[in-house]
Symmetry: C2
């Protein structure tokens, strides 16, 4: 494990986020109103989101958007994060590939989610908002927003997917320690929740349902906004601090990545690590490959369709142009709770449609096998979500071995797995299940979507 | 939370550990043989520990001992660690004191314990050892040694205090992920364990008992050594990387600490943060105060006696000159499992006897209240152990407020609490208990000790 770390100084924390929409020759399709099917504007989102993130959502012109100083100030708690040349992993794989990972697990909540939680809470506070609502799957986003909301003095209600609420009590407790109110979703506190509980009393929840509940509460509470941890364009924007730092660090290492990999749920960490490198592809200055590593059990990019769909289960959100499995798709209870989402954000979906990226769907057991190799080779126990990126990197390194090549591979370690050890226990016991979705189930869900593309 | 971080580069990782024994005008008393009551030499420890750490244990002459390059190489995974000016905490307390903390929680196992686990595993490997044994309380040391043993290709058996084995399954699982074998202590696998189980079938274990089991297994297994995570002189030596880095970082901040604080179990992180600063006191160049923050329920420095005592429950170890509550003392089941140890290491005990440091015993609820203030002010959820240091820092800041002074306070954040959230839940529910030990119980235990001082 002679792994080498590349360390930046505080002044190297990016001063602006990278907005890939400005550089895309073909822009993402617009969000549509569910009622009129007409394109929405930033103003249409003001009731739901803070004004500034609503504007960012629609900004197709500015390639860089300044990071406010109070946001950079809070980033300093954990940024810049290290880039590591994973020589231990290379050795374990016997590969000539050079493997690097960006380590976002060093944040105080253990994942990359603070990168967007901080600006979202900041803008809300600036605009006089007093209350926020959000959803969380495994609890990574909820923990991050709890920390940020507490810092800016905002109240926060978090709808946590029920299966995670019961399986991951530590993450609930982390949110409560930061002062947030945590509710298991589906709950009786919203119409959307009551409807589901009435029809499916034992339903264990999904991100789609939790989003419906959080949106409904925000819309019915005075001076309250909703904050989302992935999918939306502004979230992808905020996450680009990951790739912008990594770009400088790869320069320090004297290399440029041939392959850039992120795990894929709604797109937040994937966008963060890839977009800053993708801009050099768009400009014709580089020819890297970009790989979205998604769970076999929730394969929106590999097996979904490009269509307008809701971001949530109840249909409260705008219609988003996305690769989707259908907003009623119920993902299996895999341990990578942060990847259990039916669709991909608008930007990633457009880039995928345009052939700018590849997707790979990976069985659960393969991701834990990869996590084990990584933990023993690099000393860091990865989150189940991040393990998808590791598994993809290992696939690529092994393929390179077979082909006799030596690519430079960069992946994002989006979080550590110290609060997910129950999943590791199941893996050790041989009790983890792989879930391959029957095509009929996907087809049935997709058949219910409006045909707008 | 405009907290400021001071970041070092990889080349700033110390090249040598600081050996305070070389500078102490009055040396610690020697270890004694239990059989002959005669002073021991390094060679006497060779059957138990690796030769190099045995030599370090008795080194009274070299103020600096070189860190082997493979050890520094592994330190690079997480070192140098940040020093943070805790402006958020200062603001929350309304204090003019300047408060700094050294953040050892950024290591991949979440605590400072790797600082000694890595060299101990390295030396064992260098000397041809194939198997290690150790004990662990809350699991921090066991996790660290598991990671290091795995890296150097050593087998490892960890005796984990039973109450923690049952309460903290995540830490057990972390050790297993790194490939270690974990046994709940007391166990049937050793004479020491069987004796206790026979007499006290429901005994929930203690560090003293787990040490007995680990020592017994090491002594009865070919090519096997024992590794200890605290107390011993060589462990304190290895931990000085904390304070040596902090010294450079305080220089970057343009300040020098008036008060240096560490939580106190056996002395490892306390020694690490304080000894490099204490050497300037010894040299007459500074006049800092040093505070050991121990649990009210295990107050060896504040209420124990200076006497020769065993390091373990069964009496397998050498006799150590220590402030002790008696090796049969059974600490209450507080959540700061790493501080549940009956004695203080020989160096710290000597320094305490010589008036070089102060001790403070703190009730459990006060430590969690401090942890809450810190988590909300600085964004990091601290380990229950580290929360003792935070509580002591808050006491000092509040006293400074009353006295109208503005001291520079430095404490060590030895670990994060993300795997201890069950303890936070109990605190939120108002269910945490303070344990004040009746003086009679301490007196009874101490009365059983040989009178060698």
């Amino acid at each position: 494990m002679e792994s080498k770390k590349f360390i930046l100084q505080e002044q190297d924390i990016p001063k602006a986020w990278y907005n890939i929409m400005a550089d895309m020759p073909v822009k993402p399709r617009p969000l549509l109103s569910p009622a009129t099917k007409k394109p929405l504007s930033a103003e249409d989102l003001f009731p739901l989101f803070s004004k500034e993130v609503s504007r960012q959502e629609f900004n197709m012109t500015d390639p860089f958007i300044e990071i406010p100083e109070p946001v950079r100030d809070l980033y300093r708690i954990y940024r810049p994060t290290p880039l590591v040349r994973a020589r231990g992993l290379e050795k374990a794989l016997g590969t000539r590939a050079h493997i690097y990972f960006k380590n976002e697990s060093v944040s105080p909540v253990g994942s990359h989610k603070l990168n967007s939680a901080i600006p979202q809470a900041f803008y809300a506070k600036e605009e006089g908002v007093t209350n926020l609502t959000t959803e969380t799957g495994a609890g990574q986003w909820g923990a991050a927003l709890s920390m940020a909301a507490n810092h800016f003095g905002l109240n926060l209600a978090v709808y946590m997917v029920k299966v995670s609420y019961n399986q991951k009590p530590y993450r609930r407790s982390i949110m409560e320690t930061y002062g947030a109110e945590v509710v298991a979703s589906p709950s009786m506190s919203t119409k959307a929740g009551r409807a589901i509980i009435t029809n499916h009393p034992n339903y264990q929840g999904s991100l789609g349902t939790a989003i419906s509940e959080a949106v409904e509460l925000a819309m019915s509470t005075p001076n309250c906004k909703y904050a989302l941890g992935s999918v939306m364009n502004h979230v992808c924007l905020h996450q680009t601090v990951i790739g912008l730092e990594a770009e400088k660090q790869m320069e320090m290492a004297g290399e440029y990545p041939d392959i850039v990999i992120g795990c894929f749920g709604g797109g937040s960490n994937f966008s963060g690590i890839t977009f800053p490198f993708m801009r050099h592809n768009i400009a014709g200055k580089a020819n890297s490959r970009f790989i979205a590593a998604e769970p076999q059990s929730c394969p929106k990019l590999t097996r979904g369709v490009m269509q307008y769909d809701f971001g949530d289960e109840a249909g409260y959100t705008p219609l988003i142009p996305m690769y989707t499995l259908g907003h009623n798709f119920t993902p299996a209870n895999i341990h990578a709770g942060g990847l259990r989402y039916h669709g991909a954000g608008a930007i990633v979906s457009a880039l995928s449609e345009q052939g700018m990226l590849e997707a790979m769907d990976i069985p659960q057991n393969e991701t834990f096998a990869a996590a084990h190799i990584f933990a023993r080779a690099e000393g860091i126990i990865p989150a189940p979500e991040s393990s998808h990126a590791i598994a993809a990197a290992i696939r690529e390194a092994r393929r390179a071995n077979e082909e006799g090549t030596a690519p430079v591979i960069l992946f994002n370690l989006s979080g550590h797995g110290l609060i997910d050890m129950a999943a590791y226990d199941q893996y050790h016991a041989g009790d983890l299940v792989d879930y391959a979705i029957p095509q009929q189930e996907i087809d049935d869900n997709i058949a219910q979507l409006p045909k707008l593309i």
